[in-house]
């Protein structure tokens, strides 16, 4: 059975909530029922058939072709199956997802993976601000799963992150993992100002020798810790860049502890060039 595919026929006039276009909401429905599903838009309610042509049947493997940043909350609350979006996505893609895989073959706007609790989000392009962070008003950011961004990420990536793994293969903006509660973040590109600002616990791994850290981080020396080796081994499958970082970490990484303004039990590792 071929996967269920949505082909975009016309770009919506405004923002559309695309959270209904995912396996759990589509399972067991006929094509006609799916075509009549409502899509909440800015000041009107559309139906699926207004925007998409449908192909295929298997609702466990859903593909959306031609999406753009006007589609928000794609994959929000995803609880299993695979959702592949070809093209860009709007804000809050994969927000609060619990299981399954969300592949975004293109760029993602802000808050991708906000508050996610499990599963995998793989963004092949860049991501906006607040990737893997908390939803507005929430006390904690992503609390499980893996968010992988193959391009760059904006400011405040991993803000208030509590559990899970954030991997950014490109550069990150400022205040990366600000207010981090726990979890792991790995950044392979350049890092903006003030990484780890107010982080309480958790691990930030950087590949930016000489990057400037806040004065509230104390140098802890060079360490080759078994836990970090195991961690990087477990992440190596996420790509050659991650695997290469893991190889270079053997022998030790420079470790900084902080943010001392927030308890100081967070750690930032920096690989030497």
């Amino acid at each position: 059975m071929t996967g269920l595919t949505f082909e975009l026929r016309s770009v919506p006039p405004g923002i559309v909530d695309g959270s209904v276009l995912q396996p759990a909401a589509l399972a067991g429905k006929s094509r006609a029922e799916i075509e009549r599903l409502p899509l909440a838009a800015w000041n009107e309610t559309l139906v699926v058939a207004d925007l998409f042509a449908l192909k295929g049947r298997d609702a466990q493997h859903v593909t959306i072709h031609g999406a753009c940043d006007r589609f928000e909350r794609l994959g929000a609350g995803l609880d299993g199956g695979t959702l592949t979006v070809v093209g860009g996505v709007g804000r809050y893609a994969g927000e609060g997802m619990r299981r399954g895989t969300l592949i975004i073959d293109g760029p993602a706007a802000s808050h991708v993976g906000a508050g996610m609790r499990g599963g995998l989000i793989d963004v092949t392009g860049d991501a906006g601000d607040f990737a893997g962070s908390a939803r507005p008003g929430a006390m904690a950011g992503m609390a499980g799963g893996t968010l992988r961004i193959r391009g760059d990420a904006g400011d405040r990536a991993g803000d208030r992150m509590r559990r899970g793994t954030l991997i950014v293969e490109g550069a990150v903006g400022g205040w990366c993992v600000s207010r981090m509660i726990a979890g792991t973040a790995l950044v392979l590109g350049a890092v903006g100002p003030h990484p780890g600002h107010q982080m309480r616990r958790g691990t930030l791994l950087l590949d930016a020798p000489g990057c400037e850290l806040l004065p509230t981080f104390n140098p802890n020396g060079r360490h080759d810790l078994l836990a970090i080796r195991l961690l990087l081994d477990s992440l190596a499958a996420h790509g050659p860049g991650v695997a290469d970082y893991g190889r270079r970490a053997i022998g030790g990484l420079d470790r900084w502890l902080g943010d001392l303004a927030a308890g100081g039990q967070g750690e930032i590792f920096v690989a030497r060039s």
Binding site: R163, R201, T203, L226, A227, L230, L231, D233, E267
Partner: protein, 308 residues
């Protein structure tokens, strides 16, 4: 003695080993070198021969190559048995805390697959408090670990380990012409069993010389010497020794499942009997309590007949 099967000239008594249900876990201990992994494992499994007085039974199951361990370092797998999950937890806490946490460069991981778990025991969950608040929890590949700061860096261990239902007390006795013949046969049997997975021989060198019977003339003792197999008591007590027997040694086998114990018993008996007539091995028998105490019965003739 009852009707016997003969293996390499050695009579195999038609009897059975009587074994008991236990709880068990497997711990994988790694270190910077095989030597340090072995130091930790040997200390951990010290004074763990019998639940009667030690609280648990434990031994090294296998030494592990770097490719067989979670962190790619040399290691040792340990099997730990106790009568209940509560007893197992108590022994796990004490022994890991005093023997593995203390040993340079070590790390400790659970070795029982999660899908086989009957119950979960705390490992790092208890030990983490040694970190005095500086311990760090880290979830790696779906498993939770604790990183406890120690003077050589960090002690890494899993948060929990799985426990499963297991069997303790599989056994067989080697009846020989004299002490040296019995010891040589027992050593052959130990060497045959040592490479096997899922079983341990918890007694010193894998061998017991003080086989016991239930009860004693002294009220305080729950068990006492198995006088029917003591060559120095022949003529004083009803003996089970055949004519010419001068020494008996026992192998006690704990295992994670009945098949593993049966395999170990069969391999051990065959090794003990190899060229037995010339080497002074007279008979193989097994210890039981009439079948009234333990639910697991390993019939010697059946396990030797069933296994190639």
């Amino acid at each position: 003695m009852a009707e016997a099967l003969v293996l390499d000239g050695v009579a195999i008594e038609d009897t059975f080993a009587e074994a008991f249900g236990m709880r068990a876990t497997r711990l994988v201990v790694t270190a910077a070198s095989p030597t340090w992994a072995r130091h930790a494992a040997q200390t951990f499994t010290g004074f763990a021969t019998s639940v009667i007085a030690c609280g648990c039974e434990a031994a090294i199951e296998r030494e592990l190559q770097p490719g067989e361990t979670p962190d790619g370092r040399p290691g040792v797998s340990i099997l730990l048995f106790a009568l209940s999950a509560k007893d197992l937890q108590k022994q796990l806490d004490r022994r890991t805390g005093q023997c593995i946490l203390t040993c340079p460069t070590t790390a400790a991981y659970g070795g029982i697959a999660a899908d086989a778990a009957k119950e979960w025991l705390g490992l790092g969950r208890s030990l983490r408090y040694f970190g005095d608040g500086w311990q760090i929890a880290k979830r790696i590949a779906g498993r939770r670990y604790w990183r406890v700061p120690v003077m050589d860096g960090e002690f890494l261990c899993e948060d929990t380990v799985a426990t499963i239902k297991a069997i303790g007390g599989g056994n067989f006795l080697i009846v020989a012409r004299d002490q040296s013949a019995a010891l040589a046969a027992a050593e052959r049997a130990v060497a045959a069993i040592e490479p096997l997975w899922n079983v341990i021989l918890p007694f010193p060198g894998g061998v017991v010389r003080s086989g016991s019977k239930v009860g004693s003339k002294y009220r305080v003792l729950p068990a006492s010497t198995n006088d029917a197999y003591c060559p120095t008591l022949v003529g004083l007590v009803p003996t089970k020794l055949p004519p010419g027997a001068g020494a008996v040694l026992e192998l006690v086998i704990d295992g994670l499942d009945a098949d593993s114990i049966a395999l170990a018993m069969a391999e051990g008996i065959r090794a003990a009997c190899r060229d037995g007539t010339r080497r002074g091995v007279l008979a193989i028998t097994a210890g039981n309590y009439g079948g009234k105490l333990g639910p697991h019965h390993f019939h010697l003739h059946r396990i030797l007949g069933a296994l190639p």
